[in-house]
């Protein structure tokens, strides 16, 4: 990647922005705004920055991660590394008790497959990097962030997404009924993930304390701050409050 800098004070930023930034970017000195003039100017590769203390460098490395994600974004970054995400393969998945055959490249996440190939859009993508829990699904009964699981890795497993939580006759799960009774969702974007974590919790611990519920649900962020409502919903679903 071509990185050329003229003025010394540009070095750190340009270095950071370029090494990690997938977009090809070049910085010109304010003195050299004409692009052709830049090419004719004597330049040097900036491998050493006299201002670059060790502390600044360490910070810079940390920040370069942030800068790297800003340009082209990280959504589907794993898939996009090879441009087309690799060769699609027809695989069989067990989703909500049904076998689904679907073409999936080996680098695709389960969240992507559920939402964009199987149209199961109840699974939400809030961050796509394992921070928020909006995409939580159960894999063999265990809550997982679907944004952080590769679809090819769950071929032999049972996946339960929010669409499979209610009964076949449409009866809502006790957790869903309790969340309605508590008016638990606010914006509702995190709610499918909250439901999934609560369903898994009660399957393993039918009468959790509020503190146990908070621990079990703590991987699910709610930006609206409806935590107490969800916890009361868990207690209601477990029959501890009516």
């Amino acid at each position: 990647m071509l990185v050329r800098c003229i003025s010394q004070d540009l070095i750190l930023t340009s270095h950071l922005a370029y090494d990690a930034e997938p977009t090809r970017v070049r910085v010109l000195s304010p003195r050299n705004t004409d692009r052709h003039a830049f090419h004719n100017k004597k330049t040097e590769h900036c491998s050493v920055n006299l201002q670059l203390t060790r502390r600044r460098f360490i910070k810079g490395v940390i920040f370069s991660g942030a800068a790297a994600t800003s340009g082209a974004g990280v959504y589907l970054a794993a898939n996009a590394q090879s441009g087309n995400g690799g060769m699609e393969r027809l695989i069989s998945l067990t989703i909500n008790g049904r076998t689904r055959r679907v073409d999936v490249p080996p680098t695709e996440t389960l969240a992507n497959t559920l939402r964009y190939r199987l149209n199961l859009t109840g699974t939400k993508i809030g961050c796509n990097r394992g921070e928020c829990g909006a995409c939580t699904v159960l894999i063999d009964g265990v809550p997982n962030y679907a944004c952080s699981v590769l679809t090819h890795n769950i071929k032999a497993k049972q996946v339960l997404s929010i669409e499979g939580v209610k009964a076949d006759d449409g009866t809502l799960h006790a957790v869903q009924q309790a969340f309605i009774a508590e008016n638990a969702p606010q914006c509702g974007f995190c709610t499918p993930g909250q439901v999934m974590s609560a369903v898994a919790l009660l399957a393993n611990n039918p009468r959790p304390t509020k503190a146990e519920a908070a621990q079990a649900m703590s991987g699910n962020l709610c930006r609206c701050g409806a935590y107490e409502h969800y916890l009361n919903g868990v207690l209601r679903a477990s029959g501890q409050i009516a």
Binding site: V25, V27, G126, E131, C187, N220, A226
Partner: protein, 811 residues
Amino acid sequence: MSTHIGFDFTPPDVPGKVTGEIKYAEDYKREGMVFARLLTSPLPSGRVVGIDATEALRMDGVLGIFTADDLPPVAPPGNPALASEYVSFVGQPILAVAAITEEIAESAIEKIRVDFERRPFVVDPLESLSPGGANAYPEGNTLVRTQEEGPEGTPIRGAEIRDIKWPQSAIDALRAGKEPAGGEFTTEWTFGDLDAGFAEAAAIVEEPFVTIGYPHHSLESRTCMAYWENGKCYFHGSSQSQSANDNGLARMLDIDPANLIFINEATGGGFGSKIGPYPYMAISGNFAKRLNRPLQLRITREQEFYIGSARSGMQGWIRMGVKENGKVSAIDLVVVNDGGMTGAGSGNSSAQHVTVAYQPENMRFRGISVYTNTTPRGAQRGPGQNEMAAVLAPIADKAAKAIGMDRVAFRRINAIDSGGFQGGGQGPVTSAFVREALDQGMRTFGWAEKNALAKQNGSKVRGLGVGIGYHGAGGRGYDGLVRIGPDGRLYIHSGVGNLGTYSYAGTCRAAAEALQVPWERCEILRGRTDNHLPHSSGQGGSNTIFTHTRTNWVAAQDAITKLKEIAAQDLGGAPEDYTIGDERVFASAEPGRGLTYAQAAARAIELGGKFSGEEYPDDINPITQRAVQGLAGSGLIGVAKDNIPGEGQPPGILVGFCEIELDKDTGKIEILDYTAIADCGTVVHPKNFENAMRGGAVWGVGLAAFERHVYDPQNGLPANTGLYQSKPPTYLDVNVETKMGAVNIPDPQNPTGGRGIGEPTQGAAAAALASAISDALDGHVFNTAPTTTDMIINHLAGNDYSTKYLKTNTF
């Protein structure tokens, strides 16, 4: 007697949220849909010298590139959808590429070569105001409004950028906690006689303060999808508001609002960042039009950090004079706002909080809002008021202590009541009952009992705090629209957005109550323009409950008038001889003589004219006119503009009480009790009131103790773009049950009695927690929001480097 107002119900969108069936903008697909991705600035400040997309455009599957040249020019200080020449913050969108798949669009972005010229940057307002300090824009560093500002969240109009520098002595003074004499301000007001007020004071407290802005972090990023059919644009967006977006979005798309179908059934959080149409909507709609394909522009979590707006920060100074009896005699307030790349701060709103919380007899405010090369800033839950509440509470505690007065008693003597005022113009309020709230809160919390308990327990020390949150909470003059169908059901058309507060549903209950229709016989139509939605306010500023219980009430009254007129016409007598009940209109003296609502609606259709919407009042908004035209002939139409007389601002006010345990070894804070009492008039929907109260408490903890932007002053790069890094509170951070209540005294200017409360719930919690932290540490004033664990530990260790000099980017 109330039948709907004050009672619980299940808003109709809740079941869809727990089953995942309700759809957000990104959940929609359309045949032939293509995908756009953004290329964003890696630099905090620079000039785009050249863009070479040749290689990208040669790629199979790439459909086109969209740049600022494809949009009308936006002159500074506007916030352009795409940077035209200058980039002003890391993450600023420069162009979009569309392709048949997201992967190809992503890959194409990587092939684009952008040449930049780098410019100096600045991430601290005081650095920019210093002599020789860098300016965020080539034109200067300060946003100066040349017209009165619009409502929060609306685009800045009538403003210019100026280059303002302060003498170094003013910068040094402010950093040292003194008045920045010689500094230039762009907003200034005074009431009373400041000098006389301070001369009367028995004690004067003088403190600096700094609050750090932080992102909204709406969990649903602002992904949009648009397509065009027969000259109409169908636009799936994520917005707090519904019909309030119509005109602005239509302008962005250069179409008549009648040709816009804006679709937004559910919104994954907004918190002020999605009140109106945001600039990036212009990309999806116009790019889709150019390609003549449905187009989705997905915004990633990182991009949402960059373009999803953030709270403004403050660096400021306050001097408060207090008389012996506890009355605040004078306040002198200075606020320097960090306006990010959009420049707008909330200083005036911060000052407004001060006026409402302490009703000073004399006051001066001076403010200036400075651009920095950080993310765009905008309204965020109680903008100005809430961060001021957080830093002011410990300062007010110090003033109370200086005259030997209990902290709650101090707030009580200065509390606003229905004869009180708000803001620099000392405008009236519709009603206020803060003393009643404080009294109720003291009892519920056990203020006196808890003050009598021992403070120290090993390494842990207890702290008690009290805080006040305030926000103006209501608007006037919007329209209501209801329809009684020939099936006898009541259809309530709501142009209110669905941002998760359920106020769209709660306000519809006013129409059901007025028309005495059981809730199960009512249906709300909302969420897309072609549901014929009236002109409604933007869902910001906690206004909806007040604003739209009124609009639905007046629309229902219009329907009642028409019901009586139809009955009189068909059954004899005068309209005033009739009354309503049990979904009938009937003669008061002879209840058997009447029509069912279904019969009356059928007659309205036969009669036509005003009864069925062929005619409508002159004073309703064109948006409502179109909605009525769409409904004409389908039932009995009730439509009216809210002309309910009255004046003054309806305030939403909350008092919070907090008890914490602070571990002096670790700096960890555990909240033992949080009690909050609202003064929001009649509680319209109790369950939803609880949502606001608890959610606001979580937001208050975030503001007071966790959340902040961190920009590296050396490189201008943001350090905490992710959720984990910027730390919105989790289940484990706020593991406490909120005790709550409401004064529940109806507001006299709302037929249903309600006022809004969404925003002050955060301010009161933040203030009460900050007050408690200070109390736990013998009244130490940190002067900063947030006050993080490391700041507490540093203070206990005798280091104050993280809270000194009004630093805005602390690690």
